[in-house]
């Protein structure tokens, strides 16, 4: 049995990235689309942390902090947009918001 190495973590983060992508592309509910984006960002963070350990450099962890900051900003603005949309259109389904479609 192999000890757990970098490759195992990379495979795990790839799987998490793909799960998040499927969520973003197929769900209709905007709240769950935003949650899937959080899954994608976490997959990136796992990669950053693993390479930070493998390369003996703490920069990866600092970048992970920046990614978390971005995730916070994105979630706050995204949920604000969602509330504004729900107030005007009374729906949270992504494919029913088609103001720019004709």
């Amino acid at each position: 049995m192999h000890p757990i190495g970098t490759v195992h973590y990379l495979a795990l983060s790839t799987a998490l990235l793909l799960i998040g992508t499927v969520g973003v592309l197929t769900r209709r509910n905007i709240v769950i689309i935003l949650m899937s984006i959080e899954l994608i960002l976490n997959a990136v963070n796992i990669n950053l942390i693993v390479f930070s350990r493998a390369l003996h450099s703490v920069s990866g962890q600092v970048f992970a902090i920046f990614v978390i900051t971005d995730a916070v900003a994105e979630a706050a603005v995204g949920l604000g947009i969602l509330i504004a949309l729900f107030r005007n259109k009374e729906t949270v389904l992504a494919d029913e918001i088609d103001l720019l479609k004709w």
Partner: protein, 171 residues
């Protein structure tokens, strides 16, 4: 070594199981709870990788901050109607095929390059860490990455102003 392996698989199960439940549940609250399980699994992986500071940040910020924000919005927005409707859009088959193609590429890259990833893994045990993880992160953050740190604070300010403007009734 064995306990590392067992813990890795437990956390991997939490991460992937939580992620799968997040994108398949009909009720948004159930999705949020599954996402919390997944994020806690990621925090455990950080701990296994000796990133103790990020472990704490993950739990305090993600589970304690972002997920509470999500649950508040789920409470504010009426999701009962949406739960009765179709949950997946019409393009789901195309999306699955595209994601499978990307996944096959990534899996192939990882499989072909798996021997290249063993760099420096043996040296990790040889170097005892003189200072703690939090101290290292702080040194790096406030010396090398001071400007990005300040820019990140401006980004957060913009996000605060933006979300307040979005949530206002009349601008």
């Amino acid at each position: 070594m064995l306990i590392d392996t067992v813990l890795f698989y437990i956390f991997a199960l939490l991460v992937l199981g939580g992620g799968l439940l997040t994108i398949t549940r009909r009720n948004a609250v159930h999705s949020a709870i599954s996402l919390i399980v997944s994020l806690l699994g990621v925090a455990g992986l950080y701990l296994l990788q000796q990133a103790e500071f990020l472990f704490a940040v993950q739990i305090v910020l993600y589970v304690g901050g972002i997920m509470v924000l999500f649950l508040f919005v789920i409470m504010l927005v009426n999701l009962d109607e949406a739960a009765k409707e179709r949950q997946f859009n019409r393009q789901w088959l195309v999306a699955l095929v595209a994601v499978a193609a990307v996944g096959a590429q990534l899996a192939w890259f990882i499989y072909k390059g798996k021997d290249a990833f063993h760099f420096a893994e043996n040296a990790a045990a040889a170097l005892p860490e003189a200072v703690g993880n939090t101290e290292q992160v702080a040194d790096s953050l406030f010396r090398e990455y001071l400007l990005p740190f300040e820019i990140a604070s401006v980004l957060l300010l913009v996000a605060v102003v933006g979300s307040v403007v979005m949530a206002k009734k009349r601008i």
